[in-house]
């Protein structure tokens, strides 16, 4: 089980103008003192099409992390507009917060982000060269994916934990359909009979 549990992420300064930095206040809890720092990243998905347009807005190390409940604010500059395809400038995309420990990602928190014009005029007739205005992060609906990683740093264990047999749950015995059992034959004298 993960040593670090993310308890909450508060999206600060939202909605805000596109050029404002992203601010996430992250609260997490750690079971035991961590030997190494956690690495947090904010990734802005420039285009749904391809990861090519992903921008890592920033990455920070967080540490030292003793056992306990901690919080910090992760602030990262707004994405570089020049790297975003024009066609994806307006509309829905995603911002991701990931956390890795010993270079293994164990949690990925995703938010839908809606970039839109506040001016109804511009909404109707978006300019050819988009000029970003408002960014709205759908803070109420985070999508959290947790990954099982090796926290101990010993690789044998890792094999054990990582390669969970995907079919392990299908090992249930065949469903027991009601059916008639063969007749029992003669019962021994010392048996207790309930037939």
């Amino acid at each position: 089980m993960a040593k670090v549990q993310v308890l909450n992420v508060a999206v600060l300064d939202n909605p805000s103008p596109f050029g404002n930095p992203f601010q996430f206040e992250i609260t997490f809890e750690c079971m035991e003192d961590l030997a190494e720092d956690l690495e947090w990243k904010i990734i802005y998905v420039g285009s749904a099409e391809s990861e090519e347009y992903d921008q890592i807005l920033d990455s920070v190390l967080v540490g030292p992390v003793p056992a306990g409940r901690h919080m910090f604010v992760f602030q990262a500059d707004a994405p570089n507009t020049g790297l975003i395809p024009e066609s994806d400038a307006v509309g829905v995309t995603v911002v991701l917060i990931t956390c890795t420990y010993r270079s293994q990602e164990f949690i990925r928190i995703g938010y839908y982000v809606n970039n839109e014009y506040t001016d109804p005029e511009l909404r109707e007739n978006p300019p050819i060269k988009p000029d970003y205005t408002q960014r709205n992060i759908l803070a109420s609906n985070p999508r959290v994916t947790r990954f099982h990683i090796n926290w101990e740093g010993c690789t044998e264990r890792m094999e054990d934990c990582e390669n969970v047999d995907p079919s392990s749950n299908s090992m249930l015995p065949p469903s027991c359909l009601p059916g008639k059992a063969p007749p029992l034959g003669v019962l021994p004298d010392n048996s207790m009979d309930c037939l």
Binding site: M71, V92, N114, F147, G153, V164, S175, A181, S191, M192
Partner: protein
């Protein structure tokens, strides 16, 4: 009998593999399959028991759910004290859960379900060892051990007081082990496996005691579980799936000789689970009927793959009740309430049934007292010796002292198991308290400005997170789990945990990513939305539709959704693994190097002197050939036993003979170096004795070759070839005139200011040097045959000489009795049969060390044979243990080894308390207390070996207080002690 199927107890229709009712009867746990993980759920019992509670919306039905298991949970079991819950699953793990105090209801971050966990249960430890699915877990009767069995064919016994420590692995099964049960007496654990066998293992040495195969030879491995059960009186063990004449049965195995003559017959398919009612019953006395005593009986429930449940009383030939068609699929687990009248049954079909019996149907349950007396009759001891809550409720505590003591004990054992069940308001978060009065809100406002941000050497930002709460480690009971600070966590459960095998799929194929995509609507399919469908078909259309859809409405898309679940390419799993390996290797190697360096440093520091002397020694080596050989009479006579001083000798005893330098004392550090034939003066050989004490050296010359040398922190002694014994102070002053020994010295010991010489003529002398007092001289009595030789000799700090003979016997000379007394005999059958391990003090107290332990061998093999004698009647073993412990006490007394005396005294007292021998306890207390009123005639000594007897009594009393049967004794002596203290 009443029957109820609470429909709200469900894992969303997924199979429920296990159910267990909490010992206090207020809640129960279920385990099984979750959405994409294993699931453990804790439910409120009240809505099951009472209809009005079920209808009352203010009473929460579900108390907590834990999705931390990666795969299906096969078994959930509460510890007998109710503080912990253990769960085992297909993810090969056993998790141990504990209720977290001070955390109120909460939802899981990012979880779709808004259903709050009313209680917070944190995983306090994860037990990893099994290499296959864990099928069953079981707590030992007193929660000392936790056993788990697995499809890897093994059973692992965990130390429940020191998780995650393993006691042992039981190997022997050749098939999947699917069920476990502890003997209520605590002597055995039984397991049933797919290898057509039921095995019984002894807890005393963890060896197999019985392997029962006959009733299982026809069985096929068709059941998911084989949950067997032991009757509460310990007399019968009932197996799951067995066959008799091609019919499925539950085999009854008698404890006496493991006979298999009886079985429960009637189920049409394999028996999956057997569960004994925890109570023993007796026939209900009807009004008017003659009150003739009837034989007590047990009650047993049997569940089968044929979906039916039967309940049996051992007094009846036919089942009490058989319920068919209770479920749509196989029964998986059964749990009785501690009252013995309620029972929960769960099934693969994902439902649970509750059965409620009346006293008329089952009979009168025996109370704890009666149950104990049954145990007492059969096994010679009561099982409820250490007080349980059940016993507390039936025994009246008569004295406030003992009540206080019992409460303290309970408090320390429970260490706030949390506020009352299902009382969220009382368990509000106490986070604010840790932050110097500043509220969380204030902190949050300024967090960005206040948080410490630094740059690492490679220029990266590093934020020091603000610690807003310590984990409530305080409630981590030291009584249980007193070991490493395993810090609990898990208030947020990952309901969406999706283990990924690879991360290089492209967007749009998200559904192939998850392990069980079909079970996973949350992750892969967007919320119901018509526009999502066409997009799925046409990925190229995503971009255009993006622009087309109204910007004000957020449209989840597959392509984007996939990004939520996919690991970033920057850190793919494989490279991560490799890099982390490399890192680990680097770390370990550098670590070990560091360690080596550190050790070397220590070594050079500690042994600086001998190393400095090395050169000289090498030169000497050649000359040493002419060194006098010792008299062979006393075999291996020169084994200076410097351990008497409790010091760890870096140098082996032989070093005295081979090298010429020994360290005789660590604190202060004293090295002794002997150089024979150092110079020839006028034809006579001179020997040199060099000594270095704390860096200051002195040396002296002796006219003859040194045969044996020894020293303590105070004195040094050497015996020479010419039978002269010289004694020097630590500064090199000669303390005694040269003593002429009758025969050559064979062993020489110094301890404190005592010198002991054992000569080849079998005489032993002890001198107290500072008082220039001759303590004793005695002739070794020649015992048992001529070939017995002295194999070990030592002198205690108190000047008591001890010798060990080659026949395994050790003696010490008691100056008060003026005779030799036997203190240890390795072949003593009492030693080997004594079983006092249950009375050993808790793990953290050091094992006894001292002359007695040295002579008896560090690994005192007491109890080694106990296992072999496990079939011997209890009272015999009890007597042997008692005799052994009394021997130990007497030996420690003669050896004047105070610490060991105290150690064995406490074990002895605990043993007496456990075995309930009041007379001896009373006599012991009386002796320790002494006369309350002083009179001239009393010969009572207030101290023994420098320990105040009344202080010892004060230590013994709490041990006595543990057993409520002795509360009068406790009170009596507690009062007298108080009285004496006030005087």
């Amino acid at each position: 009998m009443k029957l109820l199927k609470p429909s709200w107890v469900s894992h969303n229709g997924k199979p429920i593999f296990s159910v267990d009712i909490h010992p206090d009867g207020t809640k129960f746990a279920t385990g099984g399959q979750g959405e994409d993980s294993g699931k453990v759920m804790i439910w409120n019992m009240a809505p099951v028991l009472r209809e009005e509670d079920e209808k009352n919306e203010n009473i929460s039905k579900m108390l907590c759910q834990m999705d931390n298991h990666l795969a299906c949970v096969n078994c959930v079991r509460w510890s007998n004290n109710g503080l912990y819950l253990a769960s085992g699953g297909d993810d090969k793990l056993v998790m141990v859960w504990k209720r977290a105090a001070f955390i109120g209801p909460s939802t899981v971050f990012g979880s779709s379900s808004k259903l709050a966990n009313v209680e917070q249960w944190r995983c306090v430890t994860i037990l990893r060892n099994h290499t296959g699915d864990v099928m069953d877990v079981a707590w030992s009767p007193r929660d000392v051990w936790l056993a788990s069995c697995s499809v890897d064919n093994t059973i692992v016994i965990w130390n429940a007081r020191k998780f995650p420590e393993m006691i042992t692995t039981l190997r022997g099964h050749t098939g999947l082990v699917k069920g476990l049960t502890w003997d209520p007496v605590g002597k055995y654990i039984a397991s049933q496996a797919d290898d057509h066998s039921l095995k019984v293992w002894r807890t005393v040495d963890w060896q197999m005691d019985a392997n029962i195969t006959k009733p299982f030879s026809e069985c096929g491995g068709t059941t998911h579980v084989l949950r067997l059960s032991w009757s509460p009186d310990g007399q019968y063990l009932v197996s799951a799936h067995a066959m008799n004449n091609s019919g499925p049965t539950a085999q009854i195995v008698e404890r006496d000789g493991w006979k298999t003559n009886m079985d429960f017959v009637g189920h049409r398919k394999a028996v999956t689970v057997v569960k004994f009612n925890p109570k023993i019953f007796k026939k209900k006395q009807k009004n008017g009927s003659s009150p003739k005593p009837s034989c007590p009986y047990c009650c047993c429930a049997v569940g089968s793959k044929d979906r039916s449940l039967s309940v049996w009383l051992t007094s009846l030939k036919r089942p009490l009740v058989v319920i068919h068609d209770l479920f749509d699929k196989s029964i998986m687990d059964i749990s009785w309430t501690l009252t013995g009248l309620g029972m929960l049954v769960c099934s693969m079909d994902g439902t649970v049934a509750y059965l409620d019996f009346s006293l008329d149907e089952l009979g009168d349950p025996l109370n704890e007292e009666e149950k104990n007396s049954i145990h007492q009759n059969i096994y010679g001891k009561s099982l409820a010796i250490t007080s349980t809550e059940a016993q507390l409720s039936t025994t009246i505590i008569e004295n406030p002292e003992i009540l206080k003591y019992q409460q303290e004990r309970q408090n320390s054992a429970q260490a706030n198991s949390g506020p009352g069940a299902a009382a969220p308001e009382s368990s509000a978060p106490k986070l604010n308290s840790v932050m110097n009065g500043e509220s969380l809100e204030d902190i949050r406002k300024n967090l960005l400005k206040k948080q410490v941000e630094t740059r690492t050497a490679d220029g990266r930002r590093r934020i020091t997170p603000l610690c807003i709460a310590q984990l409530d480690t305080g409630d981590f009971s030291p009584a249980l789990f007193n070991s490493v600070p395993i810090l609990p966590s898990g208030s947020s459960m990952s309901s969406q945990l999706t283990p990924q095998l690879s991360s290089d799929s492209s967007p749009g194929q998200a559904s192939s990513m998850g392990l069980k995509p079909t079970h996973d609507p949350m992750l892969t399919s967007p919320p119901p939305n018509n526009t999502a469908k066409p997009m799925e078909d046409n990925n190229d259309g995503v971009k255009s539709s993006l622009l087309l859809t109204s910007a004000s409405k957020i449209e989840p898309m597959k392509a984007l959704d996939s990004r939520f679940t996919e690991r970033s390419k920057a850190t793919p799993g494989v490279t991560a693994a490799i890099s982390s390996t490399a890192k680990t290797k680097e770390e370990t190697s550098s670590d070990s190097e560091d360690k080596m360096a550190a050790i070397n440093k220590n070594l050079t520091f500690g042994k600086r002197k001998p190393e400095l002397l090395l050169d000289g020694r090498e030169v000497l080596e050649k000359r040493k050939k002419g060194r006098p050989r010792k008299d062979k009479m006393a075999a291996s006579m020169a084994q200076p036993f410097t351990q008497v001083e409790g010091h760890v000798d870096d140098l082996k005893p032989e070093n005295l003979l081979n090298s010429n330098s020994i360290q005789v004392s660590m604190e202060p550090s004293v090295f002794l170096e002997v150089e024979n034939e150092v110079s020839m003066v006028a034809g006579s050989k001179l020997s040199q004795l060099r000594c270095s004490r704390d860096g200051r050296d002195w040396n002296t010359l002796l006219p003859s070759s040194v045969v044996v040398a020894a020293g303590s922190s105070d004195i040094l002694a050497v015996a020479c070839e010419d039978r002269m014994l010289s004694v020097f102070s630590s500064c090199g002053r000669r303390l005694l005139p040269a003593i002429q020994l009758g025969t050559p010295a064979s062993a020489l010991h110094c301890s404190a200011h005592y010198v002991m010489v054992l000569t080849a003529g079998a005489t032993l002398s002890v001198w107290s040097v500072f008082t220039v007092l001759f303590s004793m001289k005695t002739t070794l009595f020649v015992s048992s045959g001529a070939d017995t030789t002295v194999s070990q000799s030592l002198l205690t700090q108190q000047g008591v000489p001890v010798i060990g003979l080659s026949n395994g016997k050790s003696y010490c000379f008691s100056s008060s009795l003026e005779t030799w007394t036997l203190i240890a005999d390795k072949s003593d059958s009492l030693v080997q049969c004594a079983d006092f391990r249950s009375c050993l003090p808790s793990h953290d107290t050091p094992v006894s060390s001292g002359p007695l332990a040295v002579m008896q061998g560090r690994n005192l093999n007491a109890g080694r044979l106990a296992s072999r004698l496990s079939s011997t009647p209890h009272h015999l073993q009890q007597s042997m243990t008692l005799a052994f412990l009394e021997n130990q006490l007497a030996s420690a007394l003669t050896l004047q080894s105070a610490q060991e005396y105290r150690y064995w005294l406490l074990i002895y007292a605990r043993f007496l308390v456990n075995e309930g021998s009041e007379y001896r306890l009373r006599e012991l207390c009386k002796e320790l207390l002494g006369p309350v009123h002083k009179s001239a005639a009393t010969s009572w000594e207030p101290t023994t070996l420098g320990l105040r007897k009344r202080e010892l009594l004060r230590e013994v009393l709490p041990v006595i207080g543990e057993n409520l049967r002795f509360q009068r004794l406790f009170t009596e002596y507690q009062d007298q002690l108080e009285l004496l203290r006030n005087k």
